[in-house]
């Protein structure tokens, strides 16, 4: 059985396991939707009271938020438990993965699903279509294609970064707080356009922990906000490249971490 088939078979089991708890499912969905609604309302109040935030109008802000949420929702549905790696290590669950006759990476990824990602998807799709209509966007085929790529890139960027941060626990035993730092940077990028922040912050979220490529840079391209005179305009097209680079880096780190873990006699 190849890796992909195995992955989806295990994911089906994980979904079935989750669906045992119906009430939990509904309260969770409502909780997530309330959270997102409050966030967007707060942003909405700020922006509409001041007409715009550094040139970003209300619906552009909604677009920015929902583009992030779209990529994030796929991550949160399939890969939310990456941050739980430290628990797997402490509880010995990870040792079980190593003993099975399949890639421990697939075992790890297919371990769980986070059904609450569904609520994020619902919210993101609604928000994006409302923004799309209110901004009277008319995309070319290339832009639609790029939109799709940007969403997938967003998912990959968040997933690989989460994996890299989680791998810290192979060395230190804990990684949850470091993962939370990632989340926090992420959330700041999610709420506000990066151009309102200072130079250092922009440098960090562009070059070091490139979460700005999940929504800010692709949104510049998709909303025709790229400044053709800026020497940095090309960053608007870079999300897929950034995602691919991160995939390579994270897989190297994962293999290094795994070698270290096994050699410790685990």
């Amino acid at each position: 059985m190849d890796g992909v088939t195995l992955y989806f078979r295990l994911i089906r089991v994980a979904v079935q396991a989750r669906l045992q708890y119906r009430a939990d499912f509904f309260t969770g969905i409502i909780g997530v939707i309330v959270m997102n609604t409050v966030t967007v309302t707060l942003i909405g109040i700020m922006v509409s009271r001041f007409k715009h935030l550094n040139g970003w109008t209300l619906w552009e802000m909604v677009f920015l938020y929902c583009l992030w949420l779209m990529g994030h929702s796929l991550y949160s549905f399939f890969f939310w438990h990456i941050r739980a790696l430290e628990d797997y290590l402490v509880e010995g669950t990870f040792d079980q993965f190593l003993m099975r006759p399949a890639s421990p990476f697939i075992m790890f990824l297919a371990r769980e699903v986070q059904y609450l990602g569904v609520a994020d998807i619902i919210f993101a799709v609604t928000g994006l279509s409302l923004a799309f209509r209110n901004l009277h966007l008319q995309w070319t085929g290339i832009q639609w294609l790029f939109f799709g790529l940007a969403v997938i890139a967003g998912t990959l960027i968040e997933t690989t970064l989460a994996l890299i941060f989680a791998c810290i626990s192979f060395w230190t035993g804990r990684s949850r707080r470091a993962s939370q730092l990632l989340m926090r940077l992420n959330v700041m990028v999610q709420y506000y356009p990066v151009d309102i922040f200072g130079y250092t912050f922009r440098l960090i979220v562009t070059g070091l922990i490139p979460v700005a490529f999940m929504n800010y840079y692709p949104a510049l391209m998709l909303l025709d906000k790229l400044d053709p005179h800026s020497p940095w305009a090309w960053l608007g097209y870079m999300s897929p490249v950034v995602a691919l680079t991160l995939v390579i880096i994270s897989s190297i780190i994962w293999h290094l971490a795994l070698r270290r873990y096994s050699s410790a006699g685990g």
Partner: protein, 263 residues
């Protein structure tokens, strides 16, 4: 008092054991303050003096909103939910202490440690790097401290009520997500109530949530002064009485239910 110090001591030991976690918590708090600082700075550079506040007042409001979280933060609800779920609540009920006061003493102990370890250091950073100003006069400063204590007690009781729900709901995690968002929103932690659209403002003005962040910070920046400030304190006091009574009633009902279950 002795009980309270023993809680504070055990919390302190907990923090020493999780140094790294608390350091990260600190970094996160600074990031939150940094984020909101820039948002208000940009908005007020676009429209100086909008809604009768200056740029400095508004950035102070935003940063204080984030900082205040570490001053009035308490989490009896998680303790209650865990104890109820695991059944360990029995041992708490057997103690010769009123449960409500026990939770309050515990939360006050946690608050002092949280303020010392996270709140004050974050505030110092805010004063030095994020241009947070002092209150306009001594009176505002004093009223702010009183109002903040009210804010702590209000939030504690709201959280206590949420925790009591655990008897019925068992898992309060999902409810708490919605709850915390609503507290942040109606409490004015991020956006002050005077910016709300009228129909939302009417609701937010009447509910106790604005006593957690909005009233203390508005007093701090000198937006609420004189008689208005005292009225606001009165508002907090009235809601506090209501919430204390509600907490006692709800908890005694919850307690009965626990006993009936044979707990």
């Amino acid at each position: 008092m002795k009980i309270f110090w023993s809680f504070a001591r055990s919390t302190f030991q907990f923090i020493v054991a999780y140094r790294f976690d608390f350091f990260m918590e600190f970094v996160l708090a600074v990031l939150r303050m940094y984020g909101i600082y820039w948002v208000w700075r940009i908005l007020y550079t676009q429209r100086p003096g909008a809604f009768g506040v200056t740029l400095e007042q508004m950035t102070t409001y935003g940063v204080m909103g984030m900082a205040l979280e570490m001053f009035i933060w308490s989490r009896p609800q998680w303790y209650m939910a865990n104890q109820i779920k695991s059944g360990a609540i029995d041992t708490d009920l057997m103690k010769p202490l009123d449960f409500h006061w026990y939770m309050l003493a515990r939360s006050i102990g946690e608050m002092f440690i949280g303020v010392g370890v996270l709140g004050l250091p974050a505030l110092i950073i805010a004063f030095i790097f994020l241009g947070v100003q002092f209150p306009p006069d001594v009176a505002s400063g004093l009223l702010f401290v009183v109002s903040m204590l009210f804010g702590f007690l209000l939030l504690f009781h709201l959280n206590f009520l949420l925790g009591s729900l655990a008897v019925v709901a068992l898992d309060i995690r999902h409810i708490s997500w919605a709850y915390f968002s609503v507290v942040r929103f109606l409490g004015g932690q991020i956006v002050p109530l005077w910016l709300f659209p009228p129909f939302v403002a009417v609701i937010a003005e009447a509910l106790p949530f604005k006593g957690t962040y909005y009233i203390p910070i508005s007093i701090y920046i000198g937006k609420l002064t004189g008689l208005d400030a005292f009225k606001a304190l009165g508002f907090q006091a009235v809601w506090l009485v209501v919430l204390v009574v509600l907490s006692r009633l709800l908890w005694s009902a919850a307690h009965r239910r626990l006993v009936v279950q044979g707990g």
